[in-house]
């Protein structure tokens, strides 16, 4: 891959990551097939950037995030974390104890702030737990650290003894962020962190994530289905479809000049908040392919309006079509696709 940055810049590399879930059936729970949730995904994330991963439900974006942290064990592939001190670490090969140490550097924020916080614990216990588990702080110091973390995410330290039920969705997401930040991580997987929130609160959390990124020098893998959120927050974006990356590029390049028909259709499908721009939308026919039984050739071909004969048989591979712009479409060179019109 020519557009790849050097080792210095890179924080995380994912190479040919696969996660197949077995489908079992019958009395002996025989494996009758596999759901290819993640099917050979490769990308890299640079230090300090926000890498957006976007796709529709079931495309494998969350599974990818979880495989990176090994919350789910990947079936195969490599995940390389470039530690400043220890050098490149093969996450998928680490043993339990090494993994625990690495988790200090990699954290996750989940989508649903109502189910990701234990209702029986106070904020101090929730946010302080990582510090206690890793034997970093206790007693008065622990309290100070928790107070500092709550402050960093815009909550008052007096709230420390309250329980999660006393907080709104947006505030709970702040608590989740405080917990993720407790160990001073370098990398955070944010799995749909704002999709359960009201529009007016979404903006607060997005702004907070941006300022925390600057303050703590964070790198984000930002997983979302909402393209406008992804465009706003990401430096680079990857689009997934049925377990595969179909396109990845710098945010501007991807949105102005998409090279994969799926990206084009996805962008055109988003309802725009402008009644004067009721656009001619590209309506995809049919539905997202079943990852247990994907179509032949390019997985997108049954819904693609540009599909040719070869698309039915040949598997496209992700290739670099312009500097830093990767696409997996056989016809990428010849197609002229419509991006988002820039509004001044």
């Amino acid at each position: 891959m020519g557009g790849q940055p050097d080792r210095e810049e890179m924080l995380l590399e994912v190479k040919d990551l696969k996660k197949y879930f077995p489908i079992r059936s019958g009395f002996f729970r025989k494996t009758v097939g596999y759901v290819k949730a993640v099917d050979g995904v490769s990308f890299y994330i640079k230090r300090g950037e926000t890498f957006g991963l976007v796709g529709e439900s079931g495309c494998g974006k969350s599974t990818t995030g979880r495989c990176i942290l090994r919350l789910i064990e990947p079936t195969s592939g490599e995940v390389i974390f470039h530690d400043e001190n220890a050098g490149p670490l093969h996450v998928e090969r680490l043993e339990k104890r090494q993994m625990r140490a690495l988790r200090r550097n990699m954290q996750i924020v989940f989508q649903d702030p109502y189910s990701s916080l234990n209702p029986r614990l106070t904020l101090q216990q929730i946010v302080g737990e990582p510090l206690v588990v890793n034997r970093i702080a206790r007693g008065g110091e622990l309290q100070d650290r928790v107070a500092g973390l709550l402050k960093a995410v815009g909550l008052r330290s007096e709230y420390m003894d309250r329980y999660p039920h006393a907080f709104s969705g947006g505030q709970r997401q702040r608590i989740s962020l405080a917990r993720a930040l407790a160990l001073n991580p370098k990398f955070i997987v944010a799995d749909e962190p704002v999709s359960a929130l009201d529009v007016s609160v979404q903006a607060q959390v997005l702004n907070l994530m941006e300022s925390l990124q600057e303050e703590f020098n964070l790198t984000y893998l930002f997983i979302a289905h909402d393209l406008s959120v992804i465009e706003h927050i990401s430096d680079r974006v990857a689009v997934m479809y049925v377990g595969k990356l179909v396109e990845s590029a710098k945010t501007e390049d991807l949105f102005l000049n998409p090279r994969h028909p799926y990206t084009e259709a996805l962008m055109s499908a988003v309802p725009k908040p402008d009644p004067r721009a009721r656009s001619e939308r590209i309506l995809l026919t049919g539905e997202v392919a079943n990852p247990a039984n994907p179509p032949s050739g390019c997985y997108f071909h049954p819904r693609c309006r540009y599909a040719a004969e070869m698309c039915k048989v040949e598997h496209p591979i992700l290739r670099e079509i312009a500097a830093g712009h990767f696409v997996s479409c056989l016809r990428a060179e010849e197609l002229r696709l419509r991006g988002i019109l820039r509004q001044s």
Binding site: Q202, A203, L206, H232, A265, K272, P275, V288, Q343
Partner: protein, 343 residues
Amino acid sequence: MEQDEVLRVEELHTYFYTQEGVVRAVDGASFTVKRGEVLGVVGESGCGKSVAALSILRIVPPPGKIIGGRILYQRHLGADRNQGISEVLDLAELHPRSGQMREIRGGEISMVFQEPMTSLDPVYTIGDQIMEAITLHQKVDRREARKRAIEMLDQVGMPQPGRIIDGYPHQLSGGMRQRVMIATALSCRPALLIADEPTTALDVTTEAQILDLMRNLQQQMGTAIMYITHNLGVIAEMCDDVVVMYLGKVVEQADVDAIFYDPRHPYTQALLRSIPRLGEKTKRKLEPIKGIVPDPYAIPKGCSFWPRCLHFISGLCDQVQPEPVHVVPNHAVRCHLYKQESR
């Protein structure tokens, strides 16, 4: 009531009497739906938009109660729902289980809910559920009902409707289930369709299909739609008129162009500034609305938006409830900023 109005809600109050206190879910909401047009109702969670819809159909679950206001529904007697001699009924006056209300609910005013996964009964076939609506409201036998059900499924773009009709909901995807819901709701050719976040649970590409379908059917059948959503993009794509709700009140009502290009209420303005928009990537900071939607048990005195408002006037906004003011014809705002101008 004007001839071209199908529904006029006046000062509707729906309260929930819970042990912790009274939740004023809808607290003096007024709006009208014109015949054959799409009215968008937009607001954040807890603003009362769904409860307003349930009130119209008189299916507010206990401990909720309509305690004031009128829900005027103008129906046309005769076969065509949009023409002929008309009468006006106050739905708030009718008993929820009265014959008249049952006739209207599902027959003349029908509803599509947010969750297509839960709003269909898993133990009945698709056909049973559509045919139930048809046989309840039209004098037809089962064979005729089945024929109509298949026609409806075909109209909502269901592939192989003759086969699907004997299938069960679990065999369908979310988008397909929502098509079934729409087919059921439209099977009796209602005068008004209430759609409560019908595409929120769906993916964007499926959402685009459903929005397109609803627009086409609406134009073909002349059904008026009350479209409830929190998504401003969907509002812009679908609606003719828009009502913005905040904490049980309508804070602004105007046509869709005015809402997006000339919003007057500080809440509407703030809402429009707070959303990220495609094609505006400048790494600019979003402008969030400060604070959070207040607790429903402790709605602020005066204008309920004042603690979050950028134009807050101390001593006025936190004391006096603003009344709706028409800044221009057909553009009403509930805000003290405009009181002086209109006088």
